[in-house]
Structures are given as C-alpha cells and as structure tokens.
C-alpha cells in the first residue's frame, strides 16, 4: 500500500498523465532516448547509494515480515513450539467465522461511513476557516484532539457516559429519568465512530487547509466578481485545485482506518483489563485477540490469516480508490 504513496512525482514534474499527453522538451530527462543522457546515467548511478539503504531496511523490516506472516498463516501455531502445516484451512475458517465477518464489516464502516463524515466536515470547516478571523487559533484548536492519545478518550468515555456520569447528570435536571444505556455493548461501536470523527476531522482539515492556502487569491476575487456562492466556490475552485491533496488524504485515511485498534480496545473492555465486546471488534482487534488475548492458547495461524486478508482487501480498496480519484492535476 505504501508504494502508492511514494509513486507520484518522483522527479518534481507535474503528474505523468498531463505530461505524456503533450510532451515538452523537458521530458527527455525521463529517459525517452535509448542510451539516456548523461544526467540519466548519473541518476542511475546514484540510485543504489540513495535508495539502497532505505530499500534494504524496508525489505528487512516490512516486506520480509509480511511474507513471513503469509507463511505463518498456512500453519497452526501457538507462537512457539511445533508448527503444523494446514494449508489454506485458516482462511476457510475465517470466512466461515461470523465474528471475523462482523469485525471486518466494522472496519469497512470506519473506512467509509466515518471517512465520509470526516471529509464532509473537513471541507465544510475549510470553507468556514478560510475567511474566519483568528483562523490560526481555530485551526490549532480543531487539530488539538488529534494529538491526544486514544487511550484518554477511552478512559474519558467512562466519566462521560457511565450511568452516573456527566451526560446523565446533565440530563437529569432536564427531566430525563430513563436515559439511554450509552455504554451498552451495542452502543459502543457507534460511540467509537463519533469519537473518531471528532478527533480526526481536525487533522484532515489542517492538511486540506494547507492545500487551500496554496490557491492564489485572484481565483477567489474572480469568484466574487462572478457572484459565485460559497458552494460554487467549493465546486469550481477549491475542489479541483486541491484534488491531489484530497486524494492523498483519502489514501491516508484508508490506511489508518484499517489499523484502528487502540480506541476499540480501551473504549470497551474496561480500558484494556479485558477483551472488548465482540460487537465493537474491528479486523485489527480480531487479529490481536487471536494472537495475544492472554486468556487462551495463541492462534498465530488464524491471527496472521486475518491480518493477511485485511491487507489484501484493503490493498484492493486503495487501488480502486486511487483509480476513482484519478484526475489530471491542475497546474497553477
């Protein structure tokens, strides 16, 4: 997945598609001539010393363990001791496991529902913040929740939503004598989704704002002269000119949403003292419980199988997302 992040702009020129449609002399740098220019030769010489160390580290620390995980997923293994080869059994079992399917469903809910909410809010905030007085302060304020460890929200959830907690104490004077059971097992996941929207929106707003700030003011002046509404300004100026930033944000969210774990772990399950209720499990939690729950013999085969499956399915999603979001970048 990370490869997609490093793919664009390796040479500082605008996106390839725009470039290849109308080749300009500069593109010879990319080596269209068979032998390559002297610059090209120099670049090739530098490839190994510059890329090599990072590449070796990346391979040793990420790619090899990932392949190792695939290997483990074909076995029945308690983490140490003998390994028993079982082929694709672990995968078949996971697909039959209702719990894995619901956990993966939760991951998709985070990815799409929370993701949509975050970006709608982030764009709305972007529009408001651009013209607002004191926008720097406002920006810091909305970014702040992102700096706080998810553990804090998990612990705070208790203070706020416990039967005798803050929300119910505030509702009592209003005549609410039978408030909802906020922390009932079925309500924990929706609460987690709301918390994630609140904490992550600021982060993406900040990134989008950086993109919006690059837009030269004369476009807005044009809009004002043409009598464009705020929505039209978003539709015809801001969105097209920040599309690449938005695309990167979407990929970032996809990747991070798949790994969401700690907030689920601390929100339910008593801040880590137990396993959270299965209704709030994500694919990452499912993986963790299989390997490290500490209450039963570790099942590394099943755990890695679920991790490999999530990785595969998410890789497909990222590729599809990149494809759907592909536009010619507008130069300005």
């Amino acid at each position: 997945m990370t490869l997609h992040l490093t793919e664009p702009r390796t040479d500082g020129t605008p996106a390839q598609s725009a470039e290849s449609r109308k080749p300009v002399p500069r593109t010879s740098r990319r080596g269209s001539r068979p032998g390559g220019s002297s610059i090209d030769v120099q670049r090739k010489k530098l490839l190994i010393p510059f890329v090599g160390p990072a590449f070796v580290l990346y391979t040793v620390l990420f790619i090899v363990p990932a392949l190792g995980a695939v290997w483990i997923s074909l076995h029945k293994w308690a983490g140490s001791g003998p390994m028993k080869f079982v082929g694709l059994d672990n995968y078949g079992r996971i697909f039959r496991d209702q719990l894995f399917l619901s956990s993966f469903g939760n991951t998709l809910l985070l990815l799409f529902v929370v993701g949509t909410a975050i970006f709608v809010l982030a764009f709305a905030l972007t529009l408001v913040l651009r013209d607002m007085a004191g926008k720097k302060i406002a920006r810091n304020v909305i970014f702040f929740p992102h700096l706080i460890n998810a553990l804090v929200f998990g612990v705070l959830a208790g203070f706020i939503f416990n039967p005798g907690g803050m929300v119910n104490s505030l509702l009592a004077p209003l005549g609410v004598t039978d408030p909802p059971k906020w922390l009932a097992q079925d309500n924990i996941f929706p609460l987690i989704m709301v918390t994630l929207v609140c904490t992550t929106t600021g982060y993406f707003t900040t990134i989008l704002m950086a993109g919006v700030d690059r837009i030269p003011p004369y476009y807005y002046e044009d809009c004002a002269l043409a009598g464009a509404s705020a929505f039209q300004r978003l539709r015809y100026v801001i969105l097209p000119l920040t599309w690449d930033v938005f695309g990167t944000c979407a990929v970032l969210w996809t990747i991070s949403s798949v790994k969401i774990f700690e907030i689920v772990w601390v929100f339910g399950g008593s801040s880590g003292a137990g396993v959270p209720p299965t209704q709030s499990w994500t694919a990452a939690v499912y993986t963790y419980v299989n390997a490290f729950s500490g209450q039963s013999t570790p099942a590394y085969g099943a755990a890695t199988a679920s991790a490999v499956l999530s990785l595969a399915l998410i890789s497909v999603l990222v590729v599809l997302l990149r494809r759907a979001m592909r536009r010619d970048a507008v130069e300005f």
């Binding site: 391979t59 790619i63 140490s80 001791g81 209450q295 013999t297």
Partner: protein, 445 residues
C-alpha cells in the same frame, strides 16, 4: 512503467540481498523444542548469572518483596540475578523470545497466562528438582497444599511439573462487614439462603449486587461457578471439551444458566451494570451504594484507595448447590523456566527460594496477597478468603482452566455476556452455546 524497468533491475538485486540478510538473521528460529530432563540443582551456583523477566513493575508491593528476596538470594548463593521488571506483558514478550536462543532464564506470571504460552507448548523445563529441593528444612513440594497439585494442574506432557507457584488468588462475594455484620456472622450457605439475603437487601432499597458487566471474565464467573457447584470442579472444562456439544443438554447445565437468569430477572443486579465501564461499578460498591460484589481476592487492594471510610472487607464463598462439596477457586502466580535456558540450576534455585517462610510471610503481610504456603499469615482483609481456601476440599482454576484457542473470547464470553446482561434467556443461551461449540470443534480439530 516500461521505461522504469532499468531502474527495477538494481532494485531487484537489492531485494534479493535483503532477503538473504533477513533469512540468515532469523535462521534456526523455529527449532523444535527439545525434551528437557530434570537437572540436579543442589550444587554450588556461585558466580552464575540468571536473567529474570518479572511480571511485576518497579514499585508494586509484590515487586518489593521479590526484590528483597533477590538481594538475600545473591548474598546467600553468590549467584547474580539480572532482573527486568517488565510488568504483565512479560508473557507476551516471552512468545517471540522463545523462538530465539536468547531466552530469559526465569519468568513469572499467572498460571492462566503462562500455561498457554510455555506450559502447554512444551517450552518449559521440568521443575521436579525444585519440588524436592529443601527450603526451611522441608521439600518445596510439601510446602504447597496437596489439593493445589493433586489434579495435576502443573504437569506438562512429560508428567513433570513445569511451574512453581509462590502466590495464589481466589474469589468471593465481598461485602462491608462494618455495615453487614450479619453476613459475617452467618454467611448464606446455600443458593436459597443467598436469594433470601438478596431479597432482604433489595427491600432495604439499595441494589444488592454490583457488577462491572463490561468485563466478560467477571460475568462468566457466575455461570461457571454455578456449574462447578452443581457438577463439581472440572465439569466446565469437560463440558467444553465435548465435541458433540451434547453436554449442554444436561439439566444441570440449564440449571446453572437459570441461576444466572434468576439474578438478572430478579432485579438483584445494580441498574446500569449492563452499560458502564470498569471500574465504575466496583467504585460504587466500595462507596457503599451496593452491598455485594463477586470479585477476586485482589478486591481489597484494588478498591482500598476509594473505599468508604471504615470499610471492613470480608467475603463469603459462592453459595453451595446440591450435595457436591464446594471447591474454592485458586489461581496461581509463580515461576517457570524456559527449556532453552542455559542457567537451569540458579534459575530453579531462585524459584525454590521464594517459598522460604520469610518471603511468604512478606507476601501475606506486606504485599497483602495470598501466599501459596498455608502457614503464612495474611492481611485481615483477605482472611475470609484464606479461611475458605483452607476449608475447601478441592480447588478449581478461573474458567475451570479452559484455554482452547479463542474459545473463551470468541465463543463463550459473547454468549455468556448476553445471558448475564439480560439479552437472552437461559434456554436460548444453552441452545446457542451448543451450536457454537459444535461449530468450534468442527473448525478446530
């Protein structure tokens, strides 16, 4: 992408090199464990060094007792102990370490955590020599009550013990004896007596039982203990091991589920127990807003800092049902020695050393936990639990020692939670468990 093929070639070479590098780095990691023999540990261990990964963190009461014991051990034997106070995650760190040749010489943890990781995977040394080693003039084996070991709980596949406990934990139904002297004077002996007590307490206006319903392990204690009362220690494990799932048709199993259902339907559980976050319910109990809580022997130390002034901890055992002798829950905390450790003798000697009365007494009076030796004194707050253990004819482990991969977390806990949180009836619970268990064994055998 065709243009960049030339760039890919050197990258491919690098990839190959990186692979070679990483595979040699991990070479030999998956060596099968070798069946270890018991070693003679009686000789001099002066000058030898061991690495000990502790489940305690610096500053915890138990850590202080262990640290003091280690100082004495080093002075007495001339061996050196290099300790890492890792905390409870030491068993999780142990798993990857066991695949290398760089293992700790000594680890400690609860039986529930050590057994799946090191005991049942054949990665632990037999500690037979520790059990016969003499401490305070007596063999270690004779210092540990026979009922703790008679069911072979510590025995590995080779029939030899792989764990030496130095401390235990248990559970009970806790109450404030200052507020309820009548419970201390005459604890409810049978389930009917218990329900009578609950009705009386409920009539007084306060909810009788507090429960942190978000901890599945606490919730399951009700059903599991009820079943053990009806069918005896080991019956829950036998029920789960049954691949046909037919055990769930036993009327006694339904009876146990009905007991839990009765607590829920009877309104004996504090309102909000099904929608709160630990430790809010046990805080509420310690403040006196609920009279009873079923919880571990650690309750006095865990709630001590926020208990109402004058709170006097006492407990009674889960009430008896039928004519089966009631077993007491005993979970063990103790040492294991990885089979790959090269310093077996000093590691095993330290495991034996902790059984000396000096440190056992310190565990009881300073750390305020239950020492494994029955002759060691304990803090008044846990005296009621100790008395129950001493009197019990047999003991059982938490969840009756069920550790099948993922069974508790993925199969039992979710369904037991539904029963305890009032979402399913006893009958539905039995039906769901039977189906799920049959499926589990189809997938896991």
């Amino acid at each position: 992408m065709g243009k960049s093929a030339r760039h890919l070639r050197p990258l491919a070479a690098l990839l190959g090199a990186a692979f070679a590098l990483s595979t040699t780095a991990c070479g030999g990691a998956t060596d099968a464990s070798t069946a270890a023999e018991a070693v003679d540990i009686s000789g001099s261990i002066s000058g030898q060094t061991i690495n000990y990964w502790s489940m305690w963190k610096d500053g915890e009461p138990q850590q202080k007792v262990l640290a003091a014991a280690i100082v004495d051990f080093e002075k007495e034997t001339g061996a050196t102990v290099s300790v890492q106070w890792q905390g409870r995650s030491n068993t999780e760190k142990l798993v990857p370490a066991l695949n290398t040749n760089n293992v700790p010489d000594l680890v400690d943890g609860t039986f529930a955590k050590l057994a799946p990781v090191i005991g049942e995977t054949g990665q632990a040394s037999p500690l037979t020599s520790v059990y016969s080693y003499e401490v305070d003039g007596k063999a270690v084996g004779s210092l540990i009550p026979e009922k703790f070991t008679s069911n072979g709980v510590f025995k590995g596949e080779d029939g030899q013990p792989w764990m030496v406990p130095y401390s235990i934990s248990s559970d009970g139904i806790w109450f404030d004896a200052a507020k309820h002297p009548e419970l201390k004077a005459k604890p409810p002996a049978t389930w009917d007596d218990f329900i009578e007590v609950l009705d009386k307490l409920k009539a007084g206006g306060a909810a009788p039982i507090a429960a942190d319903g978000d901890i599945a392990g606490y919730n399951s204690t009700w059903f599991v203990t009820a079943l053990l009362r009806l069918k005896g220690a080991g019956s829950f494990k036998a029920l789960i091991e049954d691949k046909s799932g037919e055990g769930w048709d036993d009327p006694a199993v339904l009876e146990a589920a009905r007991k839990v259902e009765a607590l829920v339907k009877g309104g004996y559980l504090n309102s909000g127990y099904n929608a709160s976050k630990f430790p809010s319910q046990q805080q509420l109990w310690a403040n006196g807003d609920a009279s009873l809580i079923l919880n571990g022997s650690w309750t006095p130390t865990e709630t001590g800092s926020y208990a109402a002034p004058g709170f006097e901890y006492s407990s009674f055992q889960f009430p008896a049902m039928g004519d089966k002798p009631a077993s007491a829950r005993v979970d063990f905390i103790g040492f294991a020695v990885p089979a790959k450790s090269k310093n077996q003798a000093p590691a095993q000697r330290l495991a034996a050393f902790m059984l000396a009365s000096k440190y056992q007494n310190a565990l009881g009076t300073e750390a305020k936990v239950l020492p494994v030796r029955p002759d060691a004194p304990v803090d008044p707050a846990v005296e009621s639990v100790k008395a129950a253990i001493d009197a019990a004819p047999a003991t059982h482990l938490q969840n009756d020692g069920v550790t099948f991969p993922g069974f508790m977390e993925k199969v039992f806990f979710p369904k037991d939670d539904e029963l305890f949180l009032g979402k399913t009836s006893a009958n539905e619970f039995i039906g769901k468990m039977k189906t799920a268990q049959i499926q589990y064994w189809k997938d896991n055998s």
